[in-house]
């Protein structure tokens, strides 16, 4: 047990963001190096947490608890369990690789990194919070910088529209969820926002059935659940590369995770009542998302819709409410986070050089950036659930969960998405990286920098390690899932 390590992880980025603002704006080299050092430190700390988590130990570890507003029952209470420890590591990986990829930001890099770090603090905060109020607090901290990051540094053609759309969607979602949370606070009669206490509040069945949809959908909006998903591809596309990585890689997990933590775990009876129809929405996510991805001609939109499809598998796994489904969904959060971060990183590298994202206008890039092409292919294999990579390890139990939960028809329909995913990934790979270089791109393309290769290499390494040796993550996830099942079993 390392004291204060979670607080260090949560507050390091935001403090570093503040320090950044005092650095001379003209010295870009210094700003980038400082940001990189901080990101690396956050990455290291998250590795320390991950590898010091004892799967056989108590449910929550590295716990810290201080009073914050004792009159309202609000405390600063943090800790990680088997589901969040991998997510903390995921956040560390994405912030580190995201900063590396952002070396090319030339407009006000100081402010860019400062906002990115505020965002990172918010994300870390949500994953480790054990207090409902703190969770909301960090949640808003994570959503707010997205607006600025997209509106100021995004793709010029759609950034204002996308930033506005994204922020409105997410704020409305979080307000709805907040109403539900307040209802829980008052109905419990415990006078506390502490989630561990609320887990034992024994809300009545009517209360749970009424409030569950509010809380669940409020958060699931950020997880991209159908029909509230359509902010997400727009947001992904308009955002600058590192923000897209963060957004699809981590932020969407934030929504899914909060829906699980607050919705399913605090209102288990409501979950049992409503999830059997919600699972149909997730099916739409999975299959429809894949088909929409297939018809995109914009490289980044394709990846954006693939995220909608894959995040559907996460909520689908949650909705099965059984061991296999939950294990699969928890692994899928990590696997998808790493994979999609890599996708967006590579798309960003291609766009930086080619200045177009139209798939038909690209071609033959493997000769110029072989490393990026191979990394993209590996992520593509993860995406189509190829065995030997993390995607298979995650998706297989989700489907088993569907069978075990008595949803054979959903399993059969959802599996179509795998073939569709294979089709659009292969199409993109063969169009963008193979074939001939279009004449307009002659002379524009060159290899990626060594630091970028390092970033892609780290992401690939994680996907392959989990795929070949799933036990590196499973005991942890199993311990977390068993705790969730204990709560659900009481219903």
């Amino acid at each position: 047990m390392i004291p204060y390590i979670l607080s260090a992880i949560v507050f390091l980025p935001i403090l570093a963001g503040a320090v950044l603002l005092f650095l001379p704006a003209r010295n870009r080299q210094l700003i980038y190096r400082f940001a990189l050092a901080v990101a690396f430190l956050a990455f290291l700390l998250s590795i320390v947490v991950y590898f010091n988590f004892d799967a056989a130990g108590p449910r929550y570890q590295f716990i810290e608890k201080y009073d914050w507003l004792p009159a309202l029952g609000i405390s600063y209470h943090v800790g990680v369990d088997g589901i969040t420890a991998p997510l903390v590591l995921l956040t560390g990986v994405v912030i580190f690789t995201g900063v590396i990829i952002s070396q090319r930001i030339d407009e006000r890099p100081r402010e860019f990194f400062a906002f990115l770090f505020i965002l990172a603090s918010g994300v870390f905060g949500v994953f480790v919070s054990l207090d409902l109020f703190a969770l909301f607090f960090f949640y808003e901290i994570a959503v707010f910088p997205m607006y600025l990051l997209i509106a100021l540094w995004g793709w010029k053609q759609t950034r204002e529209y996308a930033a506005m759309k994204l922020t409105l969607y997410l704020f409305i979602g979080s307000v709805v969820a907040l109403v539900g949370a307040l209802a829980m606070y008052f109905a419990s009669g415990l006078g506390t926002f502490d989630m561990l206490a609320l887990e034992g509040a024994n809300f009545s069945a009517e209360f749970q059935n009424f409030w569950f949809p509010f809380v669940f959908f409020g958060f699931a909006v950020l997880g991209g659940i159908f029909p509230f998903h359509n902010w997400s591809p727009d947001g992904h596309v308009a955002a600058p590369t590192a923000v897209s990585m963060f957004h699809a890689g981590v932020l969407m997990k934030l929504g899914a995770f909060a829906a699980l933590r607050v919705g399913i775990m605090l209102l288990p009876i409501g979950a049992h009542t409503h999830l059997p129809w919600i699972i149909i929405l997730t099916l739409v996510n999975v299959v429809y998302g894949a088909f929409i991805a297939m018809v995109q001609t914009d490289f980044k939109y394709m990846i954006g819709f693939s995220s909608v499809s894959h995040m559907g598998l996460v909520t689908m796994g949650f909705a099965t409410l059984n061991y296999n489904g939950l294990v699969g969904a928890s692994v899928q959060m990590v696997s998808h986070g790493v994979m999609t971060a890599l996708f967006f990183a590579v798309v960003g590298m291609v766009y930086d050089q080619a200045h177009t994202r139209e798939i038909p206008k690209l071609g033959g890039l493997i000769r110029f950036m072989p490393f990026a092409a191979v990394a993209f292919i590996i992520a593509g294999l993860v995406s189509m659930g190829m065995p030997g990579f993390s995607g298979f390890i995650a998706e297989f139990p989700i489907f088993m969960g569907l069978w075990a939960g008595g949803y054979p028809l959903i399993a059969i329909l959802a599996i179509i998405s795998i073939a569709v995913t294979a089709a659009y990934i292969l199409r993109a790979v063969s169009r963008v990286f193979f074939g001939d270089l279009p004449a307009e791109l002659e002379g524009h393309m060159h290899d990626i920098r060594p630091s970028e290769k390092l970033a892609l290499g780290v992401l690939c390494l994680i996907m392959i390690t989990v795929g070949v040796y799933p036990n590196i993550i499973l005991p942890m996830v199993q311990s977390g899932v068993n705790a969730v099942l204990a709560l659900l079993g009481g219903a």
Binding site: G406, I412, A423, S430, N471
Partner: protein
């Protein structure tokens, strides 16, 4: 030494992959080094297989799976890394490790991106071996899918350079891109049912271990998901059967095959026809028959009908081709039909003497077809490299120009035709002998199909070697080189050896057949 014999299967399985990684580390400028290293590395799994073969033969009477290894892999869903071989899988492993060095030697003429090519090839070998060696369903599926990836890239990147295919709305793509995409998506879509059925099996029985499943699954009764067990089993049976039928391919699921085989590079076609098609038949034998004996018996006549259709239509289609490589590709549909016929017969009359004979024949036919189709594809590749055409009408009378090539082509063709004294005859005879009392009509029709086999084989020989000499090639054609003869030599030796004295292989195959279905 002890270490090697204790882990022999894991070593066989991973030595090609490791070899592929080593190849990637070599300097890409030195093409000869890359080629030789790849060849040397591909001989390692072959030597290890021979070690296993002799270890196996030392006590052929022992039943069940040998050299088993089990390591925890994915305990959260009770799947383990479990390897083991019986006579059936060992003979397929031998075929794979034998064909891989031959195919790599055949690829010495590849010039582009040779390092990636060799690495992918070796990775492909690991994928195929994994299917034969796995005793865990999840692992089986993992390798089943993994083998697709290197093959996709081999066809897409190193396939034939000419030819275009028109897609919808007039968009054109190169033929190799079309073929590789079709191969990948067709096979992946086909295996989705398999994936679903495996998941369901895992949920119902709580394990993916084949040995445990063979015990518990067929005897399962009661109801699942509100349906009767019979219905669920029938659905799962068809999911398995269709996935494997696409891979074999059983008529009418064969349409990916001519495209993929024709557009693949020569060595890729050798492995596709030689080994990849065997995966489907192996799946029937390893999983469908033991897991679904009742359903297999019920639907065996359908399978036999499709097999007959494959034999007859495959032969007729082959005869109708003007492209030599496509002709050989369709001949695979024809020959694999006999494998399926043998399997169907065995499924219908499990335990009888005829069934045992048919099944021995089917497995031997898998091995034989692997050797002879690899040889045929290689020979087509040899003449294509010299003339840059595969059109049967473009040659003619080449025998005097390339006498050695001509002799080898005739020899391999005769093996494919089923000439007594060569390997093809033995296995087809066994299948026909075994299936005759079980499916008399289908077997009789299949034998008529054999007549067309003779026709297309002779067409292939006649339009290349005989007839009036096409003057165009005079002075431009060199005979087969020493390296190319070296590729063929082990295959030709086996054709003759198995034709004259098949007992050494049949005794090993029979161990598995009797152990599983006796």
């Amino acid at each position: 030494m002890q270490l090697i014999t204790d882990n022999i299967l894991a070593l066989i399985l991973f030595s090609p992959l490791l070899g592929g990684l080593i190849v990637m580390l070599l300097p890409s400028e030195n093409k000869d080094l890359v080629r030789r290293a790849a060849l040397a590395l591909s001989l390692i799994p072959f030597i290890l297989t021979l070690v296993a073969w002799f270890g196996f033969n030392a006590s052929p009477e022992v039943d069940g799976f040998r050299f088993q290894q089990q390591v925890a892999w994915y305990p959260a869903i009770n799947s383990s890394f479990h390897l083991g071989v019986d006579g059936l899988s060992l003979s397929m492993v031998l075929l794979t490790t034998l064909l891989a060095p031959a195919a790599i030697l055949a690829s010495f003429s590849v010039e582009e991106k040779i390092r990636s090519y060799m690495a992918l090839f070796l990775a492909l070998e690991t994928g195929m071996l994994g299917v034969f060696l796995s005793l865990d369903l999840l692992l089986f599926f993992a390798f089943w899918e993994l083998g697709l990836v290197p093959m996709y890239f081999l066809i897409d990147q190193w396939g034939s350079k000419t030819g275009e295919r028109e897609l919808w709305s007039g968009m054109k793509v190169s033929a190799r891109r079309y073929a590789s995409f079709k191969f990948m998506v067709y096979t992946m879509a086909g295996s989705l049912g398999l994936l679903l059925a495996i998941q369901m099996l895992g949920v119902v029985s709580g394990t993916f271990d084949m040995l445990a499943l063979f015990q518990s699954w067929p005897g399962l009764t009661g109801s699942l998901f509100g349906l009767s067990v019979e219905t669920v089993k029938a659905v799962a049976f068809w999911a398995f059967a269709i996935a494997f039928a696409i891979k074999v391919p059983v008529w009418p699921f064969h349409t990916w095959l001519p495209d993929a085989h024709t557009e693949a590079p020569t060595a890729g076609s050798m492995i596709l026809a030689g080994v990849l098609l065997k995966l489907g038949a192996y799946g029937f034998l390893r999983l469908v028959l033991p897991l679904y004996p009742a359903e297999a018996e019920q639907y065996a006549p359908v399978l036999a009908l499709l097999a007959t259709a494959a034999i007859i239509f495959g032969a007729l289609s082959a005869y109708g081709q003007t492209d030599f490589k496509r002709l050989v590709a369709y001949s695979s549909v024809n020959h694999m039909g006999f494998v399926v016929l043998g399997i169907a017969a065995a499924a219908f009359a499990t335990g009888t003497e005829s069934a045992t004979i048919a099944l021995n024949g089917a497995v031997l036919q898998m091995f034989n077809h692997g050797i002879s189709s690899a040889a045929m594809f290689f020979l087509v590749g040899v003449i294509y490299e010299r003339t840059h055409t595969r059109d049967l009408g473009a040659w003619g009378g080449l025998f005097p120009l390339v006498p050695v090539f001509g002799g080898l082509l005739i020899f391999s063709s005769m093996s494919s035709l089923g000439l007594p004294g060569l390997n093809g005859f033995v296995s087809e005879f066994l299948v026909v002998r075994g299936a005759w009392p079980i499916f008399t009509l289908f077997t009789a029709l299949s034998m008529i199909g054999l007549f067309f086999t003779g026709a297309y084989i002779l067409k292939g020989i006649a339009s290349t070697l005989h007839g009036p000499l096409n003057e165009k090639w005079k002075g431009h054609l060199t005979d087969i080189s020493r390296r190319e003869v070296l590729v063929l030599a082990p295959l030709l030796v086996l054709m003759l050896w198995l034709g004259l004295w098949p007992a050494w292989l049949l005794s090993v195959i029979n161990q598995a057949v009797v152990g599983l279905f006796g």
